[in-house]
């Protein structure tokens, strides 16, 4: 048994039980009941309607309604339809999908099976980031068990419906988590996002209608089918129902995963659940949803963790990866690390992203080295502005937002560097 001091809810309640990762244990705890119900008692349209009504939002970062996404899939035509499970969790600060893959792979598979029945998909591709070797092994084992039991393959559970699942591993690029970058990579090509339209529901994996959902999003589905919309909506906020698995890292006493209802105040997560900053130091800033989301200053931690509230603070829930930085943190240094990541990971197709990420990173590095001047801050903001909204995918936005967030809330750090012509913080690591 895994000893966990951490907060769990319906998704993760059995994660401490090693048996939950096996088919036998999963079924013992009620697993595959929802899939059996869906496949034998519910029509695809009923399921899509159910998930739509539930208000379940995608947990991969964009927060799009899962049921609505399913409804984009064509109802007729003889082209095969595909599902993709996006397990390319590569947003720095996010590590929730990893545990869902390792300890909840049947829960995810059950969600996939229900989604497949709802959308009429014949195959699901589970795309797992290359670094997740152990999680991929866990999923492959679960898939094999499900095939052996007749829960995958031909005539699933005697329903007449057939579904195949294939596990594919990525090769280590952040951009392969973007849904069309993922599709390119899945097809064996270089992971570069596609122009949209056409959207994946028309032209997805191998040119066929495809829906891409995140690991955690799939994992919610069996619970909604099993216990109903009203039960699901008893968690979270009216606009953002359900729980999510927050991953807390950085300067906290108890970094880890916390499954909590959406709308839980950020301060509660940071101070109560994760134990606050150790050593009596104060929080300086918190990134609420993975590295691409703009930072919030210590004064704004009252915000409920749901998109409708976070948007008012010019940030988003993203993947729910919370990164806490205490008062010793040099925000210029943090911005440098963040901008270096995006410079390195930009796929390089679009001009603004390819050149803008590099330019921002070089300017921030120069400021950190003490060679910045007052004009650099304006240039940074201007470049970030030029990168936003004009590219094939949202990567350029994801690279611009954190820099804009740092300058919105911690401009004084930048000004101090420029004024002192050096970094006023103790050097904690080499850039």
């Amino acid at each position: 048994m895994l000893q966990s001091p951490y907060v769990t809810n319906y998704l993760t309640q059995h994660f401490a039980d090693d048996g939950f990762a096996t088919l036998e244990g999963y079924e013992r705890l009620g697993g595959y009941r929802a899939a059996r119900k869906a496949l034998t008692q519910m029509s695809p349209d009923e399921l899509i309607e159910l998930v739509k009504t539930s208000g379940l939002q995608g947990r991969g970062g964009a927060g799009f309604s899962m049921g609505t996404k399913w409804s984009f899939m064509p109802k007729d035509g003889d082209r095969p339809k595909y599902l993709v499970c996006n397990a390319d969790e590569s947003e720095p600060g996010s590590f929730k999908d990893r545990i869902m893959l390792e300890r909840g792979s049947h829960q995810m598979l059950e969600g996939i099976l229900i989604a497949a029945w709802a959308t009429g998909a014949e195959t699901t591709f589970i795309y797992i980031r290359g670094e997740y070797a152990f999680p991929a092994d866990c999923v492959e084992r679960a898939v094999a068990e499900a095939y052996a039991k007749g829960y995958l393959g031909k005539n699933v559970m005697g329903s007449g419906f057939s579904h195949d699942v294939r596990v594919t591993r990525g090769a280590g690029a952040y951009i392969c988590g973007e849904e069309t970058g993922l599709l390119e990579s899945l097809e064996g090509k270089k992971g570069q996002p596609r122009k949209k339209p056409p959207f994946p529901a028309q032209y997805g994996a191998f040119g066929m209608p495809t829906t891409v959902n995140n690991v955690e999003t799939y994992s919610h589905v069996p619970h909604i089918v099993d216990k109903g919309v009203a039960w699901f909506q008893s968690f979270g906020t009216p606009k953002s129902p359900g729980t999510t698995v927050f991953g807390v890292s950085g300067h906290v006493a108890r970094p880890g995963l916390y499954e909590l209802p959406l709308g839980t105040p950020l301060a509660e997560i940071v101070f109560e659940h994760a134990g606050g900053v150790p050593g009596g130091r104060k929080v300086k800033g918190v990134i609420p949803g993975g590295m691409s989301m703009p930072v919030l200053p210590a004064g704004q931690l009252d915000v409920p963790m749901a998109n409708e509230f976070l948007r008012e603070r010019k940030t988003m829930l993203g993947t729910g990866g919370i990164i806490v930085m205490d008062e010793t943190t040099c925000m210029v240094r943090a911005a440098s690390v963040i901008s270096y990541f995006f410079r390195d990971e930009s796929c390089g197709q679009c001009t603004q992203c390819r050149e803008g990420t590099g330019w921002m990173n070089k300017i921030i590095d120069r400021i950190e080295r003490g060679a910045g001047d007052q004009g650099d801050i304006d240039v940074l903001l201007d470049v970030a502005g030029k990168m936003e909204g004009g590219t094939i995918c949202a990567f350029a936005d994801a690279a611009a937002w954190p820099v804009q967030g740092m300058l919105r809330h911690f401009k004084e750090d930048f000004v101090a560097h420029i004024g002192a012509r050096k970094c006023p913080f103790p050097e904690s690591f080499e850039l």
Binding site: A173, I175, K190, K195, R343, D344, E345, S346, C347, G348, Q349, C350, T351, Q352, C353, R354, E355, G356, T357, G358, W359, K362, I363, R366, G375, V379, V383, K386, G389, G390, T391, I392
Partner: protein, 531 residues
């Protein structure tokens, strides 16, 4: 059809076309309505990555890329307002962040889209204080192309070209982000029959041809429209001319012929114009069999004298002619008129054959094989058979294609003839057997029409002037005919008049002459060689 409005100009355009395609179809792109673009090329798949062609479409909140936005009925597009201007300025500034700005030593300067658009749409000063990325300046990509990685703006036109046109796919983008570079696989080369097109479509000075680079500054070049004569495809070209010399061929867009491409072999055929083996003076064979340089007048007299003597002694039936299918319609028409005025009925055309490649290159390696057939010329084989059977005493040879293995198979077969008169551009074995030799103008040195394999008449114009006293085959035949007193020959030759006469006389050429053909060419009339 969809009605759209671009900057207030109403257009009726084909449904399903993108904004850029619709403007291109209408001939307005960068010619009235300017939407600058790098990655988009009319003949390659849409890439959508340079982001320079962003325009405002009413009703859509974000700016849209014109290269990938299909037209819709009622669409209203703005390409020049402040919002679009700022977006372009942003992209241009970012494209220049890592550009080396080495224009003074860059061969593309003067025909560089980065220069042009930076001037037109860019910011006028640089805000970058950071070092620019240092990359390889001289990558030897293969036998024809040199690559400067620093200048590359990663529009990927070259990558798509290699994948889509020759389908060889040698080039790829390696790495990511601002460390992306275009390269070949390790050990592989950019080596295909169309490789040099990548230098044409490269908007900057990253890809240059080994042949042309550093030969001359492009602003000294005049681009003369012409036609490649390497095969019967009749690819449209620009001849880059300066100092009365052709420095390069570049493909000239013609969607009915070669799109925007030309094969490497055709491109390099410009070298034959100024080559060392060009014939540049008349010669006659003296009594001892030696070739003696002579004046044009003496050569004309010698040719006329020999032919007249034969007609008198044996009749015109012993005179035959073989023309190369490289000759223009006007020259061939005059050739046929000359032979019939003489009374000879034995003539044919020699066509070099080779392999077609299914892209541009055609099987017939001559620019005017279809034109010759449309004029009524048959193959030269029967003429050669008649020579073998001893029925020919005098042969007029226009161009050394007659030496083909399938025809004469060498000059020896002509050694026993009483008279061999050669009109040719380049030296060949024929000089050992010719009794009279005349140098003639190359297709790049004269007016004329040529008909390509698809039955399209196209024109050539003089791009350069030979340094010697040079004439066309038609002009020389006119003089020889006059010297012999042949009916209809007074020594004068006006290629325009001949072209009109030809147009009136040959039904396939109805309405087609030097003036009416234009720079884009025209299909021959029904019943001609048209497809």
């Amino acid at each position: 059809m969809a009605k759209i409005s671009v900057d207030g100009t109403e257009l009726e355009v084909e449904e399903g076309r993108t904004i850029l395609q619709a403007l291109d179809d209408a001939g307005l792109l960068m010619n009235g309505i300017d939407i600058p673009h790098y990655c988009w090329h009319p003949k390659l798949a849409v890439d959508g990555s340079c982001r320079l062609c962003q325009v405002e479409v009413e009703g859509i909140p974000k700016l849209q890329i014109a290269c990938d936005t299909p037209v819709r009925d009622g669409m209203v597009v703005h390409t020049a307002n402040e919002r679009v201007r700022l977006a372009r300025e942003g992209v241009m500034e970012l494209l220049l962040v890592n550009h080396p700005l080495d224009c003074p030593i860059c061969d593309q300067a003067g025909e560089c889209k980065l220069q042009d658009y930076a001037y037109e749409y860019g910011v006028k000063s640089s805000r970058t204080k950071e070092p620019r990325r240092a990359l390889k300046k001289r990558v030897d990509l293969g036998p024809t192309i040199v690559f400067d990685q620093e200048r590359c703006i990663l529009c990927r036109r070259c990558v798509r070209f290699c994948r889509e046109i020759p389908k060889t796919g040698e080039l790829s983008v390696y790495n990511r982000g601002d460390h992306s570079v275009i390269e070949t696989f390790p050990g592989a080369q950019l080596d295909n029959d169309y490789s040099m097109n990548v230098a044409d479509i490269c908007p900057v000075g990253a890809l240059t041809t080994k042949d042309f680079r550093f030969k001359i500054r492009v602003w000294f070049l005049e681009n003369v429209p012409g036609v490649c004569t390497g095969c019967s495809a009749g690819c449209n070209i620009h001849l880059g001319v300066a100092n009365n010399k052709v420095y390069r061929y570049q493909p000239r867009r013609n969607d009915d012929v070669n799109d925007t491409w030309i094969c490497d072999e055709g491109r390099m055929s410009y070298r034959e114009i100024g080559s060392a083996d060009r014939l540049d003076r008349c010669s006659v064979r003296d009594a001892q069999g030696r070739r003696v340089v002579t004046s044009l007048a003496d050569a004309v007299d010698a040719a006329a004298g020999r032919l007249a003597k034969l007609v008198e002694s044996k009749g015109a039936g012993v005179i035959a002619g073989i023309a190369s299918a490289h000759a223009t319609n006007e020259d061939l028409f005059t050739f046929r008129r000359f032979l019939s005025a003489l009374g000879s009925e034995t003539s044919g055309v020699a066509v070099v054959r080779g392999e077609a490649d299914g892209i541009l290159v055609r099987e017939e390696k001559a620019a005017n094989a279809a034109g010759a057939r449309a004029l009524g010329f048959g193959d030269a084989r029967p003429v050669v058979d008649r020579i073998s059977s001893g029925g020919v005493d005098a042969l007029l040879v226009l161009g050394h294609d007659a030496l083909l293995e399938t025809l004469l198979g060498g000059a020896d077969r002509l050694a026993g003839l009483d008279t061999v008169i050669v009109l040719d551009t380049h030296a060949s074995e024929l000089q050992h057997v010719a009794h009279v030799m005349f140098p003639v103008r190359h297709a790049a040195e004269k007016h004329g029409t040529l008909v390509n394999a698809d039955g399209r008449a196209q024109r050539v114009v003089p791009a350069v002037e030979p340094s010697w006293e040079a004439y066309t085959e038609g002009e020389l035949l006119a003089r020889i005919g006059a010297a012999m007193g042949l009916a209809g020959f007074d020594g004068r030759y006006d290629v325009r008049a001949v072209s009109k006469e030809l147009s009136n006389a040959v039904p396939a050429f109805a309405g087609i002459d030097l003036d009416s053909v234009g720079d884009g060419g025209r299909a021959l009339a029904e019943g001609g060689e048209s497809r």
